[in-house]
């Protein structure tokens, strides 16, 4: 329970920072989507229930204030967790680079899923594709740059909160 709360606090911090970054980026016509970073560490190290709770909470943070049906992000994040946990035993989870790669691929998948849902609900969706790709490229670049820092921050926060952080002690799923 404590680990879930500490993990949610780090997610909330990330969400606040991304919101402020997007606020400042509006004059440049660029927006960041870092969904993969919200689910990466939990999906790779937590047990299924904790990772799903974390993914749903992060998803709900993204869902409010959007014109999409409430729960869209939450369900997409939960699906990402299930897929990552399905393949994580084949990955070297101790390797930072592997974690970052998983986060990048997850972010790409989530971005495409959210785009598909959003564009299906919007009229004249074909006109929006160029902006979708520029946002995606910007998001992936920023994600690659900030992932190591945020993973370290999450790990440190969990350690300070007295929670297990290693896959061996945390993963039961």
């Amino acid at each position: 329970m404590r680990r879930t709360v500490v993990f949610f606090l780090t997610q909330f911090l990330l969400w606040a920072l991304v919101s402020q970054a997007n606020h400042e980026l509006t004059p440049w016509g660029i927006a960041l989507f870092l969904g993969g970073l919200f689910v990466g560490l939990s999906a790779l190290t937590f047990d299924r229930r904790e990772a799903l709770v974390g993914a749903l909470a992060a998803g709900f943070l993204h869902d409010v204030g959007t014109p999409l049906p409430f729960g869209t992000h939450a369900l997409a994040f939960a699906a990402a967790v299930v897929f990552i946990q399905h393949v994580r035993h084949r990955l070297n989870r101790h390797e930072g680079l592997v974690t970052v790669m998983v986060i990048l691929i997850t972010n790409l998948g989530l971005f495409l899923v959210i785009s598909a849902v959003a564009l299906r609900l919007l009229p004249d969706a074909d006109r929006l594709t160029s902006r979708v790709f520029s946002d995606l490229i910007a998001s992936q670049i920023v994600l690659a740059l900030v992932s190591p820092w945020f993973l370290a921050l999450q790990t440190q926060a969990l350690r300070l909160g007295g929670c297990a952080t290693s896959p061996e002690t945390a993963a039961h799923g």
């Binding site: 606040a16 919101s19 660029i30 869902d63 204030g65 959007t66 299930v82 009229p123 006109r127 902006r131």
Partner: protein
């Protein structure tokens, strides 16, 4: 081996149950959850917005008193011109009321102006939205038009305890009735593709075939007043390209929106006045 296969597919079974469960959750619970998460986030937006205001305040404090005197002088001139405009508006308002009474016409909808600071801008490929620092506490209602010095900003779509969410006119989710300036024939405006590193754009449909516009001789479009949401005559943008639609009955085109839309810090919400 069936048991192992079943074990491997268990996570997906859990996901399926989660999906099914979510669709079965009553709307009331989803709504309550949405409101809870929004109100959890609201203090972050408000705090960040106040911090930005404080930054502006301290950066302005570094300006010299000479700048302050010059700004005060400019402001005094502006105030004088606005005083005259206010008097003219009041005279016109009385004249309109007199004519309405004389002709027994229904009165035009009235609005109360509510200036609000922008707490958050959320412009991405999918939608463009603002969160303003006023909500139910100032009587703002969903559907209220939002304007700024350059014309229409958008429409209030969600109202919360201390904040409200505004859909921008550049957002593909917003469509409104418009007319060419100086014309009465209605046309349809909708937000469109907002390219990266470029100004926001919109699209117009159902433009009369005798209208023309280009990058060098743009035509301004304003709200038509149809639909009852936006008052008539508010500037939306300029048509910079027009071409005949596929059916040949109308023209469609591209609208250039005000560059300042992407940097808004203060807007005015027009709250419809109740007629008791």
């Amino acid at each position: 081996m069936p048991p192992r296969r079943l074990l491997a597919s268990r996570p997906f079974l859990v996901l399926g149950l989660l999906l099914a469960g979510w669709f079965l959750v009553p709307t009331v619970i989803k709504r309550a959850l949405g409101i809870s998460f929004f109100e959890l986030q609201a203090p972050v937006h408000l705090a960040a917005s106040h911090v930005r205001d404080l930054q502006d305040f301290w950066s302005l404090r570094t300006r010299s008193s000479h700048d302050l005197i010059a700004a005060g002088r400019d402001l005094a001139r502006l105030n004088a011109s606005y005083e005259v405009t206010l008097q003219q508006t009041e005279t016109l308002r009385r004249e309109v009321a007199r004519l309405e009474a004389l002709l027994r016409m229904p009165t035009l909808p009235g609005y109360r102006s509510e200036p609000a600071r922008v707490a958050r801008r959320d412009f991405n490929a999918w939608w463009q939205r603002l969160t303003v620092r006023k909500g139910r506490n100032y009587g703002i209602v969903p559907g209220s038009p939002v304007i700024f010095g350059g014309g229409v900003v958008g429409k209030v779509t969600e109202v919360h305890a201390y904040t409200a969410v505004v859909d921008l006119i550049s957002s593909p989710t917003l469509r409104l009735a418009a007319t060419l300036e100086g014309d009465t024939r209605p046309l349809s405006f909708q937000g469109a593709n907002n390219p990266a590193f470029g100004p926001a754009r919109g699209i117009v449909d159902y433009v009369p075939t005798d209208a023309s516009a280009s990058e060098f001789s743009p035509r301004r479009i304003v709200t038509s007043g149809l639909g009852g949401v936006f008052p008539a005559g508010l500037l939306i943008g300029e048509i910079v390209r027009l071409e005949t639609s596929t059916d040949g009955l109308f023209k469609t085109g591209e609208v250039r929106l005000d560059n300042r839309l992407s940097e808004l810090t203060e807007v005015t919400v027009l709250v419809p006045e109740r007629r008791d």
